[in-house]
Subunit: 207 residues, 2 copies
DNA sequence: GTCTATAGAGCGATAGAC
DNA sequence: GTCTATCGCTCTATAGAC
């Protein structure tokens, strides 16, 4: 702690929090460092004192966020639990994670709009996902005849599509479905049951 | 036609095409009217001669795009064909539509990022979707015991999530799956079969 | 209709005092 | 560490000639 009861964190984290908020709400170009400074209750000079530029401030936020977004997922893909249990758990936990961080999906996805940014290719995400335990499980269970064969990528995209998409389309979804904050949460709670059931119904279907 | 073999359309549509491209690739804030002008091979003054401002140019593009995005969908929701056939047809046609216009989803979704924009609430989309034939079909088929009960909104979001999400997450998907342009198309062709099967497996499952 | 030139505002960044 | 003041650039928009 610093010295007095300002009910605030230290300056650097205050700036980070403010930047996170503004960047997530408006995207890189839409976010103005003036707004971030105001939100953090400091002046622009101080932003550049802590982070050298808008771009670096953004990268700092982005790297952290991206780590959360994928770290969470990768961990779950590798858990040593049966496939069906895993599906339920992934949907449940990832939904909770997104309910607590509803702006993350759009933020992460917009950054990669037209291929752009490469500063996530350093991370070995490709390999990590490709070699995840889940992949082995999908193959093994299919060989045993417990599920039908499915490419891991289809599995992942189907789960993610069903869980993440509502957050990306949230404003439109909320409008069409007349959902307020609570209504949206309820909708997502319903999906915690629906989505695993749907995935499993597909996998288990005798074809 | 105008007068000579400039192999170009008339100025106004050239500007519109250019604006569409730039706005879709970079979003409203990221798009600079300089770039649009250059892309259209005219100067900035001419942009403002045809459309009074960047904002109006954007609205013009947006309204049109949004109409395509939802018009397409709403039409399909109301077609008088059996539910199962409809599911297959929606996925097939909507996938084709998005393959031909891959940037539309991100474009439409980013506009509504944090609730913002209201200039789509004029359209009676809410009512149109809520009163779509599909809704009746889902209720009727459930009453007949042919499918399990499902809220129309879950149905729509599930279909959309599975079809639209890959386009929104395309750069990341392409990276993880090592997919080039052709690979991505192939992936989406596979989903034309997978997604309807998944939806129907869920709906038909004796619970 | 189309151009050049430029106004006028907003932006990111820094110098320099405290 | 934190501030005020300001620079220099980029952006949108318009005036005015052709």
């Amino acid at each position: 702690m610093k010295k007095m009861a300002e009910l605030d964190q230290d300056t650097e984290t205050r700036i980070k929090k403010a930047a996170e908020k503004v960047f997530m709400e408006r995207g890189y170009e839409g976010a103005k460092i003036r707004d971030i400074a105001e939100e953090a209750k400091v002046n622009i000079a101080l932003l550049n004192y802590y982070f050298r530029s808008k771009e670096q401030l953004f990268k700092s936020i982005y790297t952290e966020t991206f780590g959360k977004f994928f770290g969470q997922m990768v961990t779950m893909l590798n858990e040593e639990i049966p496939l069906e249990v895993k599906v339920w758990k992934i949907v449940d936990q990832y939904t909770n994670f997104l309910l607590a961080n509803p702006l993350i999906p759009m933020f992460v996805l917009t950054v990669h709009r037209t291929g752009g940014v490469d500063f996530f290719k350093d991370k070995n995400i490709k390999e990590v996902i490709q070699s995840a335990l889940l992949t082995k499980q999908l193959i093994e269970e299919a060989e045993k005849g417990n599920i039908r064969p499915i490419k891991p990528l289809h599995f992942i995209i189907s789960v993610m599509g069903n869980v993440v998409f509502p957050f990306v389309a949230r404003p439109i979804l909320a409008y069409i479905g007349d959902l307020d904050e609570a209504g949206f949460r309820e909708f997502m709670e319903e999906r915690k049951k629906l989505v695993p059931e749907m995935i499993m119904a597909y996998l288990k279907q005798r074809s």
